[in-house]
């Protein structure tokens, strides 16, 4: 396929009709379209996607130029249109897509879309029928591959993920088609065993049944029904294989992610332990503060009064009356003894006697008349208080220090908890990951069990079909009319089996060749330290060649990702380009029949992530591989590209933009 020209009309910033004619020269096969940032290069690249597939990556889906839209009068209609002129398999096509917009006073609404594909046949422009258009687009450039051929540098991350895994069956089919296996694939589909008239073998089966032999018809019905069962089992087995592969990969990836969180479990345990310790320490702190406050309340007055007490005791020690009082004796005790008439020692207390006089003297030193006793009691209490307050400061200091220590321990643990908390935030999804991983494992297991059952059922069905077919075939040969159909049927079956085997072999070879090309191109562009594998689904697996790197996680730089994608696209293009040139290399190799042609490569901002050496490598490699290369490039990269591409450039354009009005203009340089 070669892109000859694109015409844009009122498409986003491109007002009126603007045209770019791309270089189709085999030697000078590069077209460079340069422009500043925001000048509409990406829009131009998106125009290809819109005209071919009716979709764009624009966030705002309105396509009409703003100035044109704002100038529309009520009920006026304007058209946005893209025409793509291309050559595909020696025929010139025009692919056209137009969207009409109509102003309804305040708003402008999108109306119908017109889509057509036409080609010139004997001077007449023939239009493809609606159902033929999709087939043609699929054949020219399948949508599944479009993002690789219309390469957008800004979506590199998504592309590199997609290129490594998760590509659909349609993607693999699209690649097979591009690398030239479509003819064999179609032949197999037109021949395959069936119960209907839609295939060659199906038609012979029906003709033989129409022979009128009731037994043959009955056997045919049974075979047909088994054949349907066989096909549905085959389909289910393929689906199951896909599902198993999907869940296996999912489970593996989840395991890796969970493993990366492995230290989290230990962290969580440590976190819980610290939390317990903090709770215990808080309790100890509360008790310590309580004890401290009790002690403070009880002993602080004595401690603070100590100098006063000391002074008082000193003064009291010097007073001579203090020792004359009888401790714990009261004047009432003396009055009682006098009234009773004798002392506690038995001496009679008669008024005028010496004993009487002496005991009456004691009344002078006893309460309530005397304070001596009270002072004595005060002195004793003061001495007790003084004695206790001697250890006050030490106890106070120790208690306070203990509280401080507990607080410090709590603070230390809380700091550790905060630290762990931050780390654990990242791993809070481990539980959900584990659940997902277990679910995936369970699904994989269930599908594996079903797969085993289905494979057994498939084998049993096949045996039954073979046995019934044998019985039926013998009956057929008895009937002369059927003999001839059986001859054709057996030829058809043999051809079908041969092609199927050949296709499998061819596909394996094709994939291996594609892998070799991708590795060669990647080495040319980037480095020879990595090895790229292509699996049966055309998924890419990158590994490090140097064994000393084994076990280390492979790191992907932007430049490396770009290079992998470049190598992948260039590899497919090279295969497609060369497939048509191949000659049959052996008797059973039907390579001679594969169809193929060159493909263009349309790249938006492809060089911005590379250093000068790699830009040079890419500029040397891509033009040799792709039949046509179209670069949308910013001016600085464009200058570097021009320096390296030089004589390969067949056409140059510049986009000028009026940023105030968002109007872009394309000019040939």
């Amino acid at each position: 396929m070669l892109i000859k020209k694109i015409e844009l009309q009122n498409f986003r910033p491109y007002v009126g009709k603007q045209t770019i004619s791309f270089s189709t020269d085999e030697e000078k096969n590069i077209t460079i379209v340069m422009g500043d940032n925001g000048s509409g290069k990406t829009t131009l690249a998106q125009a290809f996607l819109w005209v071919l597939y009716g979709d764009t990556d624009f966030k705002v889906k309105e396509l009409i130029n703003r100035v044109v839209r704002d100038e529309m009068k009520p009920n006026e209609k304007k058209k946005v249109k893209v025409d793509l002129y291309l050559t595909h398999e020696d025929r010139d096509y025009i692919i056209s897509r137009a969207q009409t917009y109509k102003r309804n006073y305040t708003t402008v609404k999108a109306e119908n879309v017109e889509f057509s594909i036409s080609y010139n046949k004997d001077g007449q422009q023939e239009f493809l029928k609606p159902h033929e258009r999709d087939i043609m687009i699929k054949k020219m450039l399948p949508h599944q591959l479009s993002k690789f051929f219309f390469f957008d540098g800004e979506r590199i991350k998504n592309m590199s993920e997609e290129i490594e895994k998760g590509k659909s069956r349609e993607f693999a089919d699209a690649v097979r088609g591009l690398v030239g296996l479509t003819a064999i694939m179609n032949a197999i589909n037109h021949l395959k065993p069936s119960t209907t008239n839609s295939t060659v073998i199906g038609r012979y089966n029906r003709k033989i049944d129409e022979g009128g032999n009731a037994k043959i018809a009955e056997l045919s019905d049974r075979i047909n029904s088994l054949q349907q069962k066989y096909e549905s089992l085959e389909k289910r087995i393929e689906e199951l294989k896909d599902q198993i592969e999907y869940y296996r990969k999912d489970s593996e990836q989840l395991k890796l992610r969970i493993a990366s969180y492995a230290p989290a479990e230990k962290m969580q345990k440590e976190y819980n332990k610290l939390k317990d310790e903090v709770a215990k320490l808080e309790k100890v702190k509360v008790d310590a503060v309580k004890t401290f406050l009790n002690y403070f309340n009880k002993n602080t007055p004595s401690f603070l009064a100590k100098p006063l007490i000391h002074t008082s005791l000193k003064d009291l020690a010097e007073a001579d009356k203090l020792d004359k009082g009888i401790p714990d004796m009261h004047a009432n005790t003396i009055d009682f003894l006098i009234k009773r008439g004798f002392c506690v020692c038995g001496t009679k207390l008669e008024p005028g006697s010496d004993a009487y006089s002496e005991i009456c003297k004691a009344l002078e030193f006893l309460p309530p008349k005397s304070i001596g006793v009270l002072i004595n009691q005060f002195v004793r209490e003061s001495q007790d208080r003084t004695r206790l307050s001697e250890t006050y400061f030490e106890v106070f200091e120790n208690s306070f220090r203990r509280i401080r220590e507990i607080k410090d321990q709590i603070s230390e643990r809380q700091a550790e908890l905060t630290n762990l908390d931050n780390k654990l935030l990242d791993v809070s999804e481990v539980a959900s990951l584990k659940k997902r991983q277990l679910d995936s494992e369970q699904k994989e297991k269930e599908f594996n069990e079903e797969l085993r059952e289905k494979i057994l059922a498939l084998g049993a069905t096949k045996s039954k079909i073979e046995s019934l077919s044998k019985e039926r075939d013998q009956l057929i040969l008895v009937d002369e009319r059927n003999k001839e159909y059986e001859l054709f049927r057996q030829y058809a079956i043999t051809v079908y089996e041969e092609l199927k085997n050949s296709y499998d072999l061819q596909e394996e070879k094709t994939r291996q060749k594609l892998e070799d090309y991708i590795n060669e191109i990647f080495t040319d562009i980037f480095s020879d330290a990595l090895s790229i594998k292509v699996d049966k689904r055309y998924n890419i697996k990158v590994s490090v060649k140097d064994r000393s790197f084994e076990g280390n996680e492979l790191e992907y730089s932007t430049a490396q990702n770009y290079s992998i994608i470049f190598a992948f696209i260039a590899g497919i293009i090279k295969m497609a380009k060369e497939a048509g040139k191949n000659e049959s290399s052996s008797e059973d190799d039907y390579n001679v029949f594969v169809e193929a042609e060159g493909y263009p490569l349309v790249m938006d901002a492809p060089l911005s992530s590379f250093d000068k050496t790699r830009i040079k490598n890419i500029c040397n490699t891509l033009p040799k591989i792709a039949r046509q290369v179209i670069f949308f490039i910013k001016d600085t990269d464009g200058e570097v590209a021009e320096e390296h591409l030089g004589d390969k450039i067949g056409a140059k354009y510049l986009i000028n933009i009026d940023k105030s009005f968002l109007l872009a203009e394309i000019k040939e340089r």
Partner: protein, 58 residues
């Protein structure tokens, strides 16, 4: 294809003819991939015709 003739279900199949049929079929398919002139049903007609011509050919 070392054996030239194989017997399948009481019918002799000439493997040289099989190879010729394959070549013609693939050429036909390849042509149709390019031109898209024939529908699937028309292609089945063409393939059937090729098989019958070759099988009957002495």
């Amino acid at each position: 294809m070392e054996e030239k003739i194989v017997r399948k279900n009481g019918v002799d199949i000439d493997l040289t003819k099989v190879r010729r049929i394959i070549m013609r079929i693939i050429l036909e398919e390849r042509n149709n991939v390019k031109t898209k002139e024939c529908s699937d049903s028309q292609m089945v007609d063409k393939l059937q015709k090729i098989i019958e011509e070759e099988a009957k050919c002495l």
